[in-house]
Symmetry: C2
Subunit: 368 residues, 2 copies
């Protein structure tokens, strides 16, 4: 189904074949999450899809062959021996066998390395290479109902993990102890890896990406996190801010303003709205409260990649569409600390649906 849609897109671009080499697009087309694609990038895995033939070929390291046989319907598996065979030579072989020594071949130019590009050009001097990153981005941008349900599930698990970690934190606990509670819940809920775990309190909280350490929570500290787990290749990504012991009036007010902005952005979400307009809507919402938006983006889509298009930035050209998911994440900072909120939503026919909220975050949570 996805391969048929890819072939339609390739035909519109008058391509003869598309070669996918990224973790995300190989996963998207084949259903197999080959994690070594992002852990060991030189262990190339490629899916070659000729437009004349909905029966693609899978060039993979022999180490991954059994995984693919088990989890994918793709039967043309061409294994290469790592450090011995060149996977690029095998890709060229498939293209030649498909009668495409002079074909127009779509490649992910943001993923294919300069060396791979040179090597493929040497094996196949007469092909024309066309970038197809946008073809894949636009396919993956509209999520299937199953993907939306799954992203909602792992986002809610993540929100609950953060909430539980905050609610059980006590004055004197270390940042690592809070993170431990949080990661325990992600692991218990089947996360296959924990790719980013930014958490900090007090003076560490203000950093963009703090690492949890031995700092002990103290009354009045802000505590913040921006964390994600990965399940079957899909990311969760949520940021939440709380305060330890008790909040000052100022902290409550800054948070309240940020939350109103957060909700104001959500209220502007519907199909047809430009992603860039959502950014400017947020910009104005900051201004209306006498605040200044200093972020270059206020959110992004996510899925098999942490930051997918549309990016909610002034430069984004895309309009929102039904079936997109968006991580909305305004943030602000002043001398009292950094305040950051994040929710995952689905763009629906007439607005949005929250996917990530396990609890009420409308007021600054006081913990400990």
């Amino acid at each position: 189904m996805r391969i048929e849609k890819l072939i339609e897109a390739a035909n519109r671009k008058k391509l003869d074949a598309i070669v996918a080499t990224s973790f995300e697009n190989v996963r998207y087309l084949s259903g197999v999450a080959i994690h070594t694609q992002h852990l060991i990038p030189q262990r190339l895995a490629a899916l070659i899809v000729p437009v004349s033939n909905a029966d693609p070929s899978f060039v993979v390291c022999t180490i991954e062959e059994s995984l693919i046989q088990q989890e994918s319907k793709i039967r043309n598996i061409i294994g290469y021996h790592e450090f011995k065979d060149s996977p690029i030579a095998l890709i060229a072989g498939v293209l030649n066998d498909s009668g495409l020594p002079r074909g127009k071949i779509g490649i992910e130019m943001n993923v294919f390395t300069a060396r791979q590009f040179n090597e493929l050009s040497q094996y196949m001097p007469n092909i024309e290479i066309i970038p197809v990153d946008d073809v894949f981005d636009q396919m993956r941008m509209i999520k299937d109902p199953e993907e939306i349900q799954f992203l909602g599930k792992i986002s809610t698990v993540t929100d609950n993990a953060i909430r539980t970690a905050y609610e059980t934190a006590k004055v004197g606990d270390t940042e690592i102890e809070v993170l431990h509670t949080l990661t325990s819940i992600l692991i218990e809920n089947g996360a296959e890896s924990l790719p980013f775990l930014n958490l900090g309190a007090g003076k560490n909280e203000v950093h963009t990406h703090p690492n949890a350490g031995k700092y002990k929570l103290s009354t009045g500290d802000l505590i913040g996190c921006d964390v994600g787990g990965r399940w079957q290749g899909y990311f969760s990504d949520l940021a939440r801010t709380a305060v330890v012991g008790k909040a000052t009036q100022h902290q409550r007010e800054v948070y309240k303003n940020l939350w109103e902005i957060h909700e104001d952005i959500l209220s502007a979400v519907r199909p047809g709205v430009l992603a860039s307009d959502l950014y400017w809507h947020c910009y104005k919402s900051f201004e209306d409260r006498g605040m200044k938006l200093s972020l270059s983006h206020i959110g992004h889509s996510l899925g098999l990649v942490l930051h997918e298009r549309p990016i909610l930035s002034p430069a984004e050209t895309l309009a929102l569409q039904k079936g997109m998911v968006l991580a909305i994440e305004p943030a602000t900072r002043d001398s009292s600390g950094k305040y950051h909120t994040e929710d995952l939503i689905e763009v629906t026919e007439d607005g949005y649906r929250l996917l990530s909220r396990s609890a009420d975050w409308s007021e600054l949570l006081v913990v400990g």
Copy 2:
């Protein structure tokens, strides 16, 4: 110091400048771990080192500027606004300002994407681009004493996490429960992320990269894992095999043979030995026991990258040198399951030093 060494290497190659864009080499040269480099690859960070000037320039997204100001001595920081400015244009600007519009520029061709390569070539049509992946690989290959100590520390933590998870596992526990104990110890010891967590028991144990699930440990099951955490950008990576309840004679024997092979590989480690010869030494060690080595490599170096050179494979051309670290990981499988052991060692003047072992693994561990 590292930058001076890089400039010496660049001079030997008659280069005018080197541009580093990978997480590992930017981290290695600057001391700053910019994790978004691997999480959000389009958010480019580049270190530009002209050979005429040991004062490099850092082109980074404004989001990362405060991190760099705080953690690095590099003062020439050129921030770009994400989605607005082109970081490649800024790199070209630095090269032009350094008087190098026709320079020989070293680039990591295994990291630089085909699109970045094209864009840089358009801005600077008269530069000559030279691959320098090997320059960096060979620099990072010999670890500093501090790196060796650090890799030993995080490897021992990981070994202890596996050992504790195995020793506290009981018949009826799920794979996830065992993984939970393991990851708890990694997080408590300050891991900043957990990039790969392969763990399986019984029928799941045989997969190359199993995901822990709800399968319950049963007497006679093999349990195996291949896991790693990340600290300040550095990886740990260990695989260990145990058995639940009690072992069969056959299981004990296969494990005993594998362990003898493991120790036999270690005994062959010393400076001057070819990495490929270590592979063949292992091959013969399998044969001597009536077994067949079916792996394409039996280990690898690691550090800021999970698989670094030298790779212990027939194709590797490098000889071992003092100061290298090696993950030695023979494995075998038969109808009774998969057996996999792994240790991290340092190559010393006259042999090796174990870096990873927190306990005795010489006999098949019986757990539960």
